[in-house]
């Protein structure tokens, strides 16, 4: 047990001692603040048509706990995923493989360290929720139980399960991170939809990882019995709507039943069970396929060695005359090559399918759904656009290159944009034919935004996770037609010009921040 504790501790410290984690915490504080909106806000986080709960302990505590369970599960997977990959990349895995630790012990420690990371974030939202109660309440008593219970019964099992899923996804889908994200996203969607559609209360309680059913059911029955209504739907999550008058009601939390508690326990056991099951399939850092490839490569090379005369070394006098060329075209070429070669080449079939579909589906569908999703599928190509030198320890060369900012970083940005615009080409062509130049400009502006966001967040956080999480959330929210984050101009609203100007300004700020921080990093290796 001692070694499991040591691995968890080391893994936890390694993950949390980073700028990316600090920025994630800062974003979390803001998110937790936004879970309890002021009465004048144009959005709600728990929406019962025409009704609103008063800000008593139960409402603030449960809404905050539930939002933490859902939102943190959604982006927490992206945050904690990659723990095993890190051990492969750093080759620590090879050392671990030679120790007596069992596969299950190793995977369990990875899962628990994932869980600790998510719990740390949940701890922050918990504290903020209490602060927000005192900020927003109008004289209701502070009952600590109404804050602890939702975190224990909603957030804890959900985060525990997500921690397990992140490990299991890595075991079965290896280094195919995009595929892991897609599978998790579908799992998440199915989980939410199933709970909503399930008529049987007991079944719904058991299949509900987040405990949504119990919460919304309790609120619905409170409103229906108090106001003699027949409300069937309660929306959880950020719902943006025009300001309207609400009737208020006082809700005092859910009744904890035996079935509900057992269902929470089932999710905890299930999470441990899938980790145990996956341990039978864990590679333990023995990549047989890679070994075969290497052997083959060596076998290919060895006979050639005999046909090649041993080298006499380098004779500088024999090298052709040196010609200088300080242009950035060769850089752009290589950066594009790196972008294209990244990941599984078969994935280009999916990209190709989505690309062709953008010619065929209705233009608003292509703009609102296909393009954001197609761009999101490139998340791993863009996320390390400006950080791959450090990740591959090549920054010693690149930072010592001639004018690295003006040539190197610029080439990376241009290559990233070329990829974004090539992928958006069908839509750009269709809008150009339709003479809709606003839409074309919006897409170009959006491409700049995505690339600059990747570059800036990568440089500032010195990692790729932050961009991956934010880009995922952006993509998810934009497909929900939320105008607030409409970086593509895909959602119809009245303020297109204002949005374009804001986005242009954001792009400039991201560019200045990215260049500024990189300038500093160049001389501080």
């Amino acid at each position: 047990m001692q070694y499991i504790y040591s691995i968890i501790k080391a893994d936890y410290l390694q993950r949390t001692r980073s700028y990316a984690f600090l920025i994630t915490l800062a974003v979390t504080f803001y998110a937790a603040y936004s879970f309890v909106p002021p009465p004048t806000a144009s959005y709600t986080t728990l929406n019962v048509v025409g009704y609103k709960g008063v800000y008593n302990s139960a409402w603030v505590g449960y809404v905050s706990g539930m939002m933490t369970a859902i939102m943190l599960s959604l982006y927490g997977f992206f945050l904690v995923n990659g723990g095993i990959k890190k051990d492969i990349d750093t080759e620590v895995g090879l050392i671990i493989a030679t120790t007596p630790i069992t596969n299950f012990g190793y995977l369990l420690s990875k899962m628990l360290s994932n869980f600790m990371v998510l719990l740390t974030i949940a701890g922050c939202t918990f504290i903020v929720s209490i602060i927000m109660f005192f900020v927003r309440t109008t004289g209701y008593p502070f009952l600590i139980g109404n804050f602890i219970i939702p975190y224990l019964t909603f957030a804890l099992p959900a985060l525990f399960s997500v921690s397990a899923l992140a490990v299991v996804a890595e075991v079965f889908l290896g280094r195919k991170s995009i595929l892991q994200y897609i599978v998790f996203f579908f799992f998440f969607g199915i989980m939410m939809a199933n709970v909503e559609n399930q008529k049987n209360d007991a079944v719904a309680t058991f299949i509900d990882m987040f405990g949504v059913h119990s919460l919304t059911g309790s609120i619905k029955s409170q409103v229906n019995s108090q106001f003699h209504e027949h409300i069937t739907g309660v929306n959880l999550g950020f719902t943006f709507n025009r300001k309207q008058a609400f009737k208020t009601f006082e809700w005092n939390g859910i009744t904890i039943t035996g079935i509900f508690l057992v269902s929470r326990l089932v999710w905890l056991v299930l999470a441990l069970g899938i980790v145990y099951f996956s341990s039978f399939f864990f590679h333990r850092f023995d990549f047989k396929q890679s070994a075969r490839k290497t052997k083959k490569a060596v076998a290919d090379i060895q006979p050639n060695r005999h046909t090649v005369l041993p080298s006499n070394g380098i004779s500088m006098q024999l090298l052709p005359r040196l010609v200088t060329n300080y242009g950035i075209i060769p850089f752009i070429k290589t950066e594009l090559l790196l972008l294209i070669r990244k990941g599984n080449k078969w994935f280009w079939l999916v990209n190709g399918g989505a690309w062709i579909s953008m010619f065929l589906v209705p233009i608003n569908v292509a703009h609102l759904y296909l393009l954001p999703v197609l761009w999101f599928l490139q998340v791993t190509r863009w996320s390390d656009l400006a950080t791959k030198e450090e990740a591959n320890r090549l920054h010693y060369f690149t930072y010592a290159a001639y004018k690295p900012l003006q040539r190197m970083l610029l080439a990376q940005i241009i290559a990233g944009m070329i990829l974004a615009l090539l992928l958006a080409l069908p839509l750009v062509v269709r809008y150009a034919i339709a003479l809709d130049y606003y839409a074309v400009f919006n897409i170009v502006n959006g491409a700049i935004f995505v690339v600059m966001l990747a570059v800036c967040l990568g440089i500032v956080s010195r990692g790729k996770k932050l961009f991956e999480i934010l880009f995922f959330l952006l993509t998810y929210i934009i497909t929900q037609k939320v105008t607030f984050v409409d970086y593509l101009g895909a959602v119809s609203h009245d303020n297109h010009i204002v949005y374009i100007v804001i986005l242009l300004s954001v792009n400039v700020i991201l560019m200045l921040a990215g260049f500024g921080v990189r300038r500093c990093q160049l001389r501080h290796v």
Binding site: K293, I314, L319, T334, L338, T398, Y399, A400, L522
Partner: protein, 289 residues
Amino acid sequence: MSLVIKNLTKQYNKDKTGLSDYSITIEKGVLGLLGPNGAGKSTLMKIIATISKPTAGTLFLDGEDIVANPDKIRKILGYLPQDFGVYPNLNAHEFLEYIAAMKGVGGPNLRKRIDLLLEGVNLTTDAKRPIGSYSGGMKQRIGIAQALLNDPKVLIFDEPTVGLDPEERVRFRQLISDLADDCIIILSSHIVSDIETIADEVAIMKSGRLIAKATQPDIIQQVEGRVFEVLVNSDELGVIKSTQQIIDTSRQKDKTRVRYILKTDQPYTSSTGVAATLEDAYLFLTQKA
């Protein structure tokens, strides 16, 4: 061509100093840097390679301040870091093209230049394979080739022979000798014999400070007449260890041959005086400082 470093200090934080008031003038030829781990060798090299900014002090290349104007040296710099990586998805040819772009090397002969460099480091047959599948030694050879792409006038090699087999190491030493007439070469290594065979001058560092800089004979001179060898049994070994500075021990049947530097007035009984080497001088100076 000369590189003049004056009062260079690199303070990482309140408790960690990389370099402390370091001054040295480096002329054409090979300067070997020797020093224990944490002596500041890599810090010095990073500062010269412009990827680390000194906290204080100046660094001039032919009168040009390269702390203020790093691009001046970057055009003529070849740098092989100690712990560099590669893009695993690129093959050797593509990788060198990429580095060439960084260094501003182009033109119609670039391909031929790369081919010749790859041939020189014996990687022609593997040039089309992704570098991710290379062995450590092959990666190191790619590193050497990239350092030479731009006909550098300042070459910095940080532990260049790590991973090279004996034959490659000999070839590398030959290369350094060929380049030395025309360039400033700064080379650090833990392997004293590498420095011994290549370096015109040796700089010994400890705790961020320069403790000696001279030609090899001058450095060795400092321990000449003080190095001895003796064959002893295990009991005697303990006595020598407590009174002399042990340089090396080797087992010979049931006895141990001990090489030591004299710390007392008289050598141990039956000891024989031997010719001092750079390693003796290095160990003597670093322990004394």
